[in-house]
Symmetry: D2
Subunit: 292 residues, 4 copies
């Protein structure tokens, strides 16, 4: 079985490496050359073009940056046109629901299987093969690639037979992350207004009711004003809040909190903070309160 | 040492009982007779009036329902006027910052110590003596009563020497709970718009990024539409969001999310859901989306 | 007929003067002495205390600053206790619905008539006797004082037989003013982001779809950054947004926009702009966009 | 001089007819045949295709429905490719800033002039040739077509030399309309909570502070619950709020109120009210309050 792996960025590289390590035949490709070279060091045969990687592939895994990168690689880059009938494409990137729907139709028209399988977890989780995988699409196809997903993640959640169900779910999770950071930011501004130490407050909540990874990770960054290097950029957080609104609007679901959060994110960008970690949203709450 | 315990409701009764069990001399009082009788069964001498309980008390602990109950008992009920100079009042209820400030001044004028010590945790946590205690006020006073607090809670966080610092912190936490429920409610509406099973979604988030008590508890209620009996009533949640806004406004801290959340809570009340559990806020998100 | 007029501030003084000019017997009172002296110059007999003014008055008109001033003058200042049975109190100040309800009950218990009659219009409108009067209370009482109101205003709107109906309506209008200023502020920030001249934009809207006093007045201030002297202080605008929320909440009406607007107002206060004209809310929109 | 007029819908037909009446040589085109026939009755020579209309045109005026219609007609329909160098295209439709920027570049590349000139005013205003025109682009080009615009409108506002400045301004105005309707809707819900007649309230505000066309028009519809036929559909209002957010985001301007308003609009769509007049947004405010 030949696996093509497109997109060897921060997340894609360790994922592809894990497949190699598990003994799979992986041909990698990345827009820029550096990451592909790193994969080659681990034994992969790299392709000169994405279409070359797709040639004769049984399974194509893509982990491209966003809608634009996905669209340009798959469509303009002739990847979809190159895949053989019966091949399976597992798209593990987080994309819009609109693109998920469009890709599902295009694959079907070419008799290529299409699964959406975006993930939860950052680089270290990807390296450990412990990602949480949100999968949707034809369940028979999923069964075929489940051994591969088991190499990459600790658990695969099956969300339905339409790929956009996984996209919507991923966006719902990211909307919840934005909400958690936003609420924590405002709560910190409130207690700071009373001269309560913010580190103490973060310790308090993350050792009791909010003892969860998302609060611990972003909370620690907020408590120590550590926003670089960015684990996940605030500007990408804004993009996902926007995509969550768009996804919700397709099915007439109002997201009142998303509207409020989006304005806060845009305000961060207006103050040149889009390149900082998502936790830097706390700076907007502090700025609004005249605390910084 | 004589301890007076005012307010033997759902939370107060097990707390007072734990003090009795630890060997302390506790005189209880409750507005209605039933709970006091239960405490008497466990060995307490109950008082006919709150002022009687306060007579000669070394430490007064109050756990009254809200601002009104606290104000009427302490002031109109002559409790503060009865306490002997040098006594310590530990107020463990969640009250407004405005009342916390006012009480601190009134106690000081009478030479009675005043500590604010609201708690995190529900009945079962109170019964187990495992509450999280948020304390503020004079640190020397706190040292005096720490042995008592150690009977009631697993940990006491010291937030500063002004009692309102604990009130503000408690309100900040409750605002975060409201945000968590609100965001989870909208996220559930979003995935339901795509026919993703909401129980599956709640399982997914609470076993990964949001694996925290607040999401597990309220999430389970949302997933199963179980809003009765109410662990904490939605109407009380609205009251705390409002008090958080008021507290924030005293120190010029804008809470944008609180504004959005407050409107959702009021909408719940407009649909006769204020008596339901706080998790029933999810019904407003579903109703807005035309899902119920 | 003796008229007592309490509160001779910016609005009250010209109103009382207009009654004098119309030939009425007016006894004035103001907390501070200066304004009362000005009224005396126009022929009024001033009272040393509010209660003295109320003695033997047939009609008491009050135009006090806010809830606190109203409460302390009427209740602690013994005005209500002094009014003779059958007298009519016309409260023309903008107060909370809660206080309107309370005052209605207290007056009824003393057999004194009570009408709420808050007004629209600023000082120059008051001077011209052209106020818009929003009246509520017993219609027979209103008929009795209508000749007085006709001196003060160009039109009296009758909103119902419960005084709080006028309070709620006045707060609804002020909430709409806050919305108009808030939306105009954000729209100006948007066009300024595209280097469209804000004066041009304000001219454009106020000479077409938004050709109304509220947009012209506040729009001109926004276009020219003229926020002093304050026609109506931003901090008072915040108070009225809060009172509108409270009024709405008493009858379970969610005001989503009020929540968003309130946060913007608090942010203005956090940047020491509460003493500026309400139009200065535009500075918060510009600040959020990084434009100032 | 030959004028091509693309898009003979509700607005375009009377505009093209006014040009004919003023003696101009107008060749019309519309996607569907009916409106073109009506224009022919008034003396126009209609074109079989948009490209045919564009052939040899000196001035092309387009008034197409939205971004999609504009894009497909101009680009896929070969209109731009057909226009002769030196021709001027006046786009009077309301489109996104993104498309305005893109079209400006495409026209420049082909040496065709491009002006954006969206309008304020409904059908009856268009018929009377009294539109308010918001123009942007090269001022020399504008001078060339000003005689035509003077036939169509009462006043042309010049907003800058980049076409997207007019698009952004039009979207800012529509965002303000959404805010006005939204605030009026919540204010009406508030006073109705106190049993104040909503017709009385609308009369009150529109004869005083809010005596402007936008409040009178939508207010009358709200007061009488008259939402059909739709003067401007609520679903189109949502589209414009979204485009205003997008336009603002391009230049890092947060629109907090737009976020809140957008959620209300989506809620209207979730209740099958998107085809009703924009004023039907009031139903969402009433529904949230449990009033309908």
């Amino acid at each position: 079985m030949k696996i093509a792996f497109l997109g060897l960025g921060t997340m894609g590289l360790p994922m592809a490496a894990n497949l190699l390590k598990a003994g799979y035949n992986v041909q990698g490709w990345n827009r820029s050359a550096g990451p592909a070279a790193k994969l080659a060091e681990r034994g992969a045969v790299n392709a000169a073009t994405a279409a070359e990687a797709a040639t004769d592939a049984d399974v194509l895994i893509s982990m491209l940056a966003d809608d634009n990168a996905t669209r340009s690689t798959l469509l303009e880059g002739n990847v979809l046109a190159t895949l053989k009938p019966g091949a399976i494409h597992v798209n593990m990137a987080s994309i819009s629901v609109a693109l998920a729907v469009e890709l599902a139709q295009l694959h079907q028209a070419r008799n290529v299987g299409y699964l959406a399988a975006p993930v939860l977890g950052r680089v270290n989780v990807a390296e450990a093969g412990q990602l949480t995988i949100l999968a949707a699409g034809d369940s028979a196809l999923l069964a075929n690639v489940q051994p591969l997903l088991d190499v990459l993640g600790q658990k695969t959640w099956y969300l339905g037979d339409r790929p956009e169900q996984a996209s919507a779910t991923k966006l719902a999770v990211n909307f919840m992350i934005a909400s958690a950071i936003g609420a924590m930011s405002e709560a910190v501004a409130l207690v700071q207004g009373y001269e309560v130490d913010k580190g103490e407050f973060i310790d308090l909540i993350t050792s009791s009711l909010f003892a969860a990874p998302v609060y611990k990770g972003y909370g620690q960054a907020i408590a120590t004003d550590t926003f670089e290097p960015a684990g996940f950029k605030l500007a990408l957080g804004l993009k996902d809040v926007r995509l969550a609104q768009d996804a919700a609007e397709r099915v007439n679901v109002p997201l009142a909190l998303a509207g409020t959060l989006r304005a806060a994110h845009v305000e961060s960008l207006a103050h040149d903070e889009g390149h900082l970690d998502w936790a830097a949203l706390s700076r907007t709450a502090a700025r609004r309160a005249g605390q910084i």
